[in-house]
């Protein structure tokens, strides 16, 4: 089947009646001309889908899919169109230089060895084999790439391990873990994505893990929704917030109350893509009695402005600014998020405008570890 026909059929794009609901809710279209239904319509009437900005600008945040009453999966449509564009040697503009090259490099049989576990400090208890595995994702890489923003993303990984240790879990962590391939997949580069996926599945199986815990929503989404299309595996997948919410239910977690008002930003992958809205809120409201919601929350959340590192532009900055403004309006000075990329994007935006925001973006895991009385590792 022709790839575009397959994209239309698989995403039910043929149901589109051009009611314009997606366009009116799209975060991009608020700041520039962008219309998902028009892109779909061009494809439906057989016009060539040009690999232009309409293809690469989409945030794939899923707001359109969430409100579409006809069940059209626009983010997936765009993902498939990007894969067609790649066949024509077109690609989006990566905002962070050579990040994609690193991902593709890791997928090669000749990949150089990684030193992926450099962040494991003496206070952390981890194993090489066992039931429960922690999929760290790109945190050790981001820690180096985004140091200039004052971010220490390995603290997220450390906090996750500390939380697990405190709950009597010694997770498996893998030095031969590779990138989950999320960003390649969403930029239409399927072959290296598949090689990365196969490596991850193979390594996890070799550790005998039955349960894989994630801190990163993108990795979680990729394992949960995309890997099953290509690979067979039967381990249980869980986000750390779901793991914690279960333990809270059992009454086995103790928190120190944090009185400061806090708010929570739903990342698109954890929220709209996977429907996980309650577990992080259950955990946060157990810690912070002054938890407040932003004006747009849960399925109506605003986006952090970019996904897959592609086309971070002035629109993306405006989207970010709008979300941060909503955060400021809650009166909370702490905005918590579960996604390292939301953390990076918001922090980056604020670092250029230090006077505009009285807000600190705090990773979920770091916040929770603090509330569990776990000390930060000093380097």
């Amino acid at each position: 089947m022709e790839k575009i026909t397959e994209a239309i059929n698989r995403t039910k794009a043929y149901y589109c009646v051009e009611c314009g609901k997606c366009t009116s809710a799209c975060p991009l279209s608020r700041f520039g001309d962008y219309s998902p239904d028009r892109v779909v319509e061009r494809a439906l009437i057989g016009l060539p889908v040009r690999p232009d900005l309409s293809v690469w600008s989409c945030l794939t945040c899923g707001r359109c899919k969430e409100i579409c009453t006809y069940g059209v999966d626009y983010p997936e449509f765009i993902r498939r169109v990007r894969s067609i564009a790649r066949d024509e040697r077109e690609q989006g503009i990566c905002a962070h230089g050579e990040l994609f090259s690193v991902m593709r490099l890791l997928a090669r049989p000749s990949a150089p060895p990684q030193k992926r576990l450099y962040w494991i400090s003496k206070d952390l208890k981890v194993r090489d084999k066992g039931d429960i595995l922690y999929f760290t994702g790109c945190l050790p890489y981001f820690d180096i790439v985004f140091r200039d923003l004052g971010l220490h993303t390995v603290e997220i990984a450390r906090s996750t391990v500390k939380i697990l240790n405190k709950l009597d879990v010694e997770p498996v962590v893998m030095n031969d873990e590779v990138c989950c391939g999320h960003d390649l997949f969403w930029n239409g580069d399927i072959e290296p994505f598949k090689r990365l996926g196969a490596l991850n599945i193979q390594h996890i199986k070799s550790r005998g893990a039955r349960k894989v815990i994630f801190s990163c929503p993108e990795g979680y989404r990729t394992f949960k929704l995309d890997y099953p299309e290509f690979f067979e595996f039967d381990f249980e997948l869980l986000h750390i917030s779901e793991f914690l919410a279960e333990r809270i239910e059992e009454g086995t977690v103790d928190f120190r109350t944090i009185d400061a008002p806090v708010t929570y930003h739903d990342p698109c992958r954890l929220g709209r893509h996977l429907g996980i809205y309650d577990p992080p809120r259950r955990v946060l409201s157990a810690i912070a009695p002054n938890f407040v919601e932003m004006a747009s929350n849960r399925e109506n959340s605003l986006c952090c402005g970019t996904s897959g590192w592609t086309n971070c532009d002035s629109f993306a900055e405006e989207i970010r600014g709008e979300r941060l403004k909503e955060g400021v309006e809650t009166g909370a000075q702490i905005m918590i998020t579960t996604c390292p990329k939301c953390l990076i994007h918001f922090t980056c935006h604020m670092s250029n405008r230090p006077r505009e925001y009285n807000l600190k973006i705090v990773p979920f895991e770091v916040f929770v570890a603090r509330a569990m009385g776990l000390e930060e590792t000093t380097e």
């Binding site: 009646v17 314009g20 609901k21 997606c22 608020r30 001309d33 028009r38 409100i67 069940g71 109506n300």
Partner: protein, 431 residues
């Protein structure tokens, strides 16, 4: 031996028509209605499309004709709880819920309602008006017999003191009565969908986002504001937008069907608004206008040409409330652009869904529902016949349809039920 009697479940416009047709043919009918009054959803409407006839003016005589007919027994505040037997002879048990007022003695004077100190939101008025704890749901209710809301009652005893007929019965118990009938007609109608789950429109959070049925009560001369359209804080309204297909044609909650009436009732409500308040601007945001019935397209044309109703093609993706309570609608009128419409009231034309409890009723009757909980037809060529012989269906509970269609469907079901109880050759089965 076929019993020459029919049970009709549901006292709305379809059920009443069926009951009346049967009664006129000399067949005895037991009409069972769940609420305190017959009349159904049509009684809540101000006007009907496409003629702008006063709904209750047409309906009230029909209600009286039914109630006073010598061949019709009307059991209100009642529900069918079990059915045994087969076509020709169904044994039916009916639960009669207590009104706590003697139905024989009450003369509807309303003294109990006047002394009752309780204030309770009236469901008939879509919770927009307060009624007393002793009440009839609306002025033209049939039968005109009061009921006590014992769940909210503070047991002061005042109603008993003032009742000149000594009709108050605090210790009244539910009662089960039995009837034997040859055939059954179901006409349980619809409920409007609660749009709170469609979070992009903020119903329940924003004060001035209403449902169409709520607006119908507001615009009704007999409604809580006497037909004067005001915002929740009592201020005058200047600009109103209607949004079509809210929760209907929506695959997210398995409701892909068209409700068949919302293009027209939005048009009607906009026309009425312009008649009541010519200075109010009205906008209808539609996906596509489905003006398929007789006089429908002309009705829309009149709305545009004679009343200045503005139709906009585009389904809003978001509503935001500003600090002064006005609302911003984001929509895209068939372009790459997003437009913002500023209004001070939004009316959601919500999906209409089969009434609450149809699943239980279907089990009681031993018949099937379709995937959206409408009563299933045995086959499409017998449009009143359910999956069980001798049980027929009429009105919205079978499929979306408007008032005249519901009435026609009621008559159709009545004629099939008539065949059965008069010993017709088909015995309730299709050919």
């Amino acid at each position: 031996m076929t019993v020459k009697s029919v049970l009709v479940i549901g006292g709305g416009v379809a059920g009443m028509q069926a009951a009346f047709d049967l009664a006129e043919a000399g067949i005895t009918v037991c009409l069972v209605e769940k609420t305190l009054s017959i009349g159904g959803r049509m009684a809540q409407l101000d006007k009907t499309f496409p003629t702008n006839d006063c709904a209750i003016c047409i309906l009230a005589p029909k209600m009286m004709d039914c109630y006073r007919h010598e061949n019709i027994e009307v059991l209100t505040f009642s529900e069918v709880i079990s059915v045994e037997g087969e076509v020709g002879s169904f044994k039916v048990k009916i639960l009669r819920r207590p009104r706590f007022i003697d139905e024989e003695l009450c003369n509807g004077c309303g003294d109990c309602a006047r002394v009752c100190p309780m204030g309770i939101l009236n469901r008939f008025d879509m919770d927009l008006r307060v009624r007393s704890g002793a009440y009839i749901p609306f002025l033209q209710a049939v039968p005109l017999i009061y009921a006590l809301d014992r769940e909210k009652c503070m047991r002061c005893g005042l109603c008993k003191v003032v009742c000149g007929k000594d009709a108050i019965r605090y210790d009244q118990k539910p009662e089960i009565v039995e009837r034997t009938v040859g055939a059954i007609i179901i006409a349980t109608g619809f409920d409007p969908l609660d749009p709170a789950g469609i979070t992009e429109y903020g119903y329940g959070h924003y004060d001035n986002v209403l449902t169409a049925l709520e607006y119908e009560r507001l615009i009704s001369a007999a409604g809580p504001t006497g037909g004067h359209v005001v915002r929740k804080d009592g201020t005058e309204v200047k600009r109103i937008a209607w949004i079509q297909c809210v929760g209907a044609r929506d695959t997210r909650d398995n409701r892909p069907y068209c409700c068949s009436v919302c293009c027209m009732h939005a048009t009607k409500e906009a026309i009425l608004t312009r008649e009541h308040h010519p200075e109010v601007e009205t906008f209808i945001l539609y996906t596509d206008l489905r003006c398929f019935g007789k006089g429908f397209q002309e009705y829309v044309n009149r709305a545009k040409d004679d009343y200045g109703v503005v139709y906009i093609r585009g389904k809003p993706g978001e509503i935001r409330e500003k600090e002064d309570g006005t609302l911003e609608l984001f929509y895209s009128p068939y372009s790459d652009k997003v437009e913002i419409l500023d209004v001070d009231m939004v009316v959601l034309c919500t999906a209409l869904i089969p009434s609450e409890g149809v699943d239980v009723l279907a089990k009681v009757l031993g018949i099937e529902l379709d995937e959206y909980n409408f009563f299933k037809l045995k086959d499409p060529y017998n449009p009143t016949e359910t999956t069980r012989a001798g049980i027929f269906v009429a009105g919205y509970c079978q499929a979306p349809r408007d008032i005249p269609e519901c009435i026609a469907h009621g008559s159709a079901a009545a004629s099939r039920a008539m065949e059965v109880v008069l010993g017709g050759m088909r015995n309730g089965k299709s050919q």
